[in-house]
């Protein structure tokens, strides 16, 4: 059978190789799990299940590498807007930092505003109406009705 280069490095095979590396790392980390004196005579230790999983994982990844299907057959999907996704991931990371530094209301409002904008929303009424008032109402619900304490951002605490 002749192997084409695209079927040799298809997604299934790459996935199998990544999983194999993951299992080998997991297996190595398993050897670092501390054991108590005398554990070597025990029927079950903290390492038993991880060992079993490592073996099963290695076997399955080798099986996938061997039985890999070309991308057209495996159901792998193509044709995406990666730039949009990356923008959103960065936005979410910024939101994570914003929660600590700016506090819930400001960080969430800015996240929503930027999110609408990135996805193509340009109407000012939607951009500002669905972010600041909505988040303020949600914040009131959390703090005043449900009595959940939300810490102010570090920036406001340092003022």
């Amino acid at each position: 059978m002749k192997l084409k280069s695209e079927s040799l490095l298809c997604r299934d095979r790459i996935g199998g190789i990544i999983f194999l590396i993951f299992c080998l790392t997991y297996g190595y980390q398993t050897t670092l799990i501390p054991l108590f004196p005398g554990d070597e005579y025990e029927a079950f230790t903290a390492r038993t299940l991880p060992w079993m999983l490592t073996c099963a994982g290695i076997f399955l990844s080798l099986l996938l590498i061997a039985m890999a299907q070309p991308d057209e057959k495996s159901g792998a999907v193509f044709g995406f807007d990666w730039r949009l996704l990356i923008s959103f991931v960065l936005l979410m990371i910024a939101y994570g930092f914003g929660l600590t530094w700016l506090g819930f209301v400001l960080a969430t409002s800015l996240f929503l505003l930027a999110g609408f904008w990135v996805l193509g929303e340009r109407r000012k009424s939607v951009l500002f109406g669905a972010s600041f008032p909505f988040v303020t109402a949600f914040w009131l619900l959390l703090t005043k009705v449900l009595d959940i304490y939300l810490e102010p951002g570090y920036l406001f605490l340092s003022l």
């Binding site: 980390q29 038993t48 057959k73 792998a76 609408f116």
Partner: protein, 512 residues
């Protein structure tokens, strides 16, 4: 048992719980109608809300969301041929042609009545089957549980799509591996924490469910923008036609619904099979046993083609609660999330659930029935209005869903590290989705991991380290044998098919 039913009934009909059923059905219907977001995401989004409720109310809300999401999925299947979840794909085969013929109202009504029949019959069967199975399972020991979990995990992989079996096993193993992170509950040593205190308690179930499903599915919607279907849906709803079903139609369709409900329930009980397979099988069965003239209508707008999958998928949804409530073993991704939620509430699902927490056990079963009534009496007439909510553009909807997913996790831990872990897991989940790796087995493995290790530990201790515990008791032997058969069959079938194609190829070439 009667006492338990009465306790459950009184819990389920409490005004606050009735309110949660109604809220759950509405929210579920709305989310289910959004293409790309299925029942698992809908339930995952509800988990943080349920943390503030008592376990019964939380489960009632999630059960309502589950039903609502399946019903909402049927609506978008019928109206615009865009199934909200996999279990309603079959409904589109005949539901959409009916809508094109101007019978969308009738198709929606049939879907609602069939779901109601499926829900009613399966609730009755659940009422009988669940306590009986729970009583039997009281005699289960650790080896039986371990073997049963093997059956559950292997079945979920076996029922994965074509070419996905190995990938589903890998995801199950990955889920089990993730479950080993943190302090080992038996011995108390740290495993895979890398000295990080944030990992001492292991990964949070909520975080994993939210990241892989709610956030993952939404980010997939951003990565591969689907057509904004709200306008199409609204225009389809403007001319849905009559919702009336004639007496003759009722007489013709009632047996179809009853047959499909019974079939659906039993398929739902099987671990891993679930509503999608139930819908496909019942559709196939009805097409095969239909009279010739009716058989030809299938795929072109047959009423039987709508009734069969709708009855079956609803009955299977109830059926999937049987192993969850009686054995503490979920049969699907959706019930796996519910199991995780129950464990988070401090409730241990399993055979003792209906003895120790009858109010949860029975109120969930009874609220399922109430949920069906809500869907038929309230949701059906309100469908045109609920779908107005879909007029909210995707540019607003997607950031909102992301906001609710992140906030849901943040408000439980108040730790922004969780937000970053969630984003990282969601990115990995996207790559797994793109490579066609199913994620439900991962969640199932993760949730069952702790219980599985505990039962394996006890079994090996009792048997002094010998694996003979897997075949010493007849019941364990039966489960072990089933697990092996379920594990081996897909591989044998693949090898057999490869061998057959290999053998047939030369003759095919000769013909050319």
């Amino acid at each position: 048992m009667l006492d338990g039913i009465l306790i459950g009934l009184s819990t389920a009909v409490m005004p606050v719980n009735l309110m949660w059923v109604v809220v759950g059905c509405f929210v579920g219907t709305f989310i289910g109608m959004l293409p790309g977001l299925g029942p698992i995401s809908a339930i995952a989004l509800m988990i943080p809300i349920t943390y503030g409720l008592d376990p019964s109310s939380g489960m009632i809300l999630m059960a309502g969301v589950y039903y609502g999401a399946v019903f909402g999925g049927s609506t978008s299947s019928i109206l615009i041929n865009a199934p909200g979840c996999s279990s309603t794909v079959v409904t589109a085969f005949d539901g959409y042609p009916m809508a094109q013929k101007g019978q969308a109202g009738k198709a929606l009504a049939l879907a609602a009545y069939s779901s109601f029949t499926g829900g009613t019959l399966s609730a009755i069967m659940l009422l009988v089957a669940a306590p009986a199975l729970a009583k039997v399972s009281l005699s289960f020991q650790s080896p039986d549980y371990f073997a049963l979990m093997l059956v559950g995990l292997s079945a979920v992989a076996a029922f994965a799509g074509k070419g996905q079996v190995v990938k589903a096993w890998m995801m199950t193993i990955l889920g089990l591996m993730l479950a080993t992170v943190g302090i080992d509950k038996g011995i108390g040593v740290e495993r895979f924490t890398f000295g990080l205190t944030d990992l001492m308690d292991g990964f949070s179930f909520l975080l994993l469910a939210m990241a892989t499903f709610a956030l993952g599915e939404t980010l997939m919607g951003i990565l591969k923008p689907e057509k904004d279907t709200s306008a199409a849906e609204n225009s389809a709803l403007a001319e849905i036609g009559s919702m009336k079903i004639t007496k003759e139609e009722f007489k013709e369709l009632a047996p179809v619904s009853i047959r499909s409900s019974i079939l659906g329930f039993f398929i739902g009980v099987l671990p891993g099979a679930g509503a999608t397979i139930a819908a496909f099988l019942s559709y196939g069965l009805e097409r095969n046993i239909a009279p010739k003239d009716k058989r030809e209508e299938f795929g072109k707008g047959s009423m039987r083609g709508v009734v069969a999958p709708e009855s079956a998928n609803n009955a299977a949804s109830s059926g999937s609660f049987v192993p969850l409530l009686t054995l503490g073993i979920p049969g699907s991704g959706t019930t796996a999330i519910m199991l995780g939620a129950l464990i988070s509430y401090g409730v241990q699902p399993g055979p003792r659930l209906f003895i120790d927490n009858p109010e949860i056990f029975w109120s969930v079963i009874i609220s399922m029935y109430i949920g069906n009534i809500v869907l038929m009496v309230l949701n059906l007439p309100l469908i045109p209005y609920i779908s107005k909510l879909l007029a909210v553009p995707r540019t607003v909807l997607l950031p909102m869903v992301i906001f609710f997913s992140i906030t849901g996790v943040y408000l439980v831990s108040f730790n922004t590290i969780d937000v970053f872990i969630m984003i990282a897991i969601a990115i990995v989940a996207i790559f797994l989705r793109l490579s066609n790796f199913p994620l439900a087995p991962l969640l199932l493995g993760f949730i069952l991991g702790g219980l599985m290790e505990e039962n394996l530990r006890r079994s090996l201790m009792i048997s002094d380290g010998e694996l003979s515990f897997l075949w010493e008791r007849p019941i364990t032997l039966t489960f072990t044998a089933i697990a092996i058969i379920v594990l081996i069959t897909p591989i044998l079938l693949t090898l057999f098919n490869k061998f057959r194609t290999h053998k047939m190829k030369p003759s095919g070439l000769e013909q050319n």
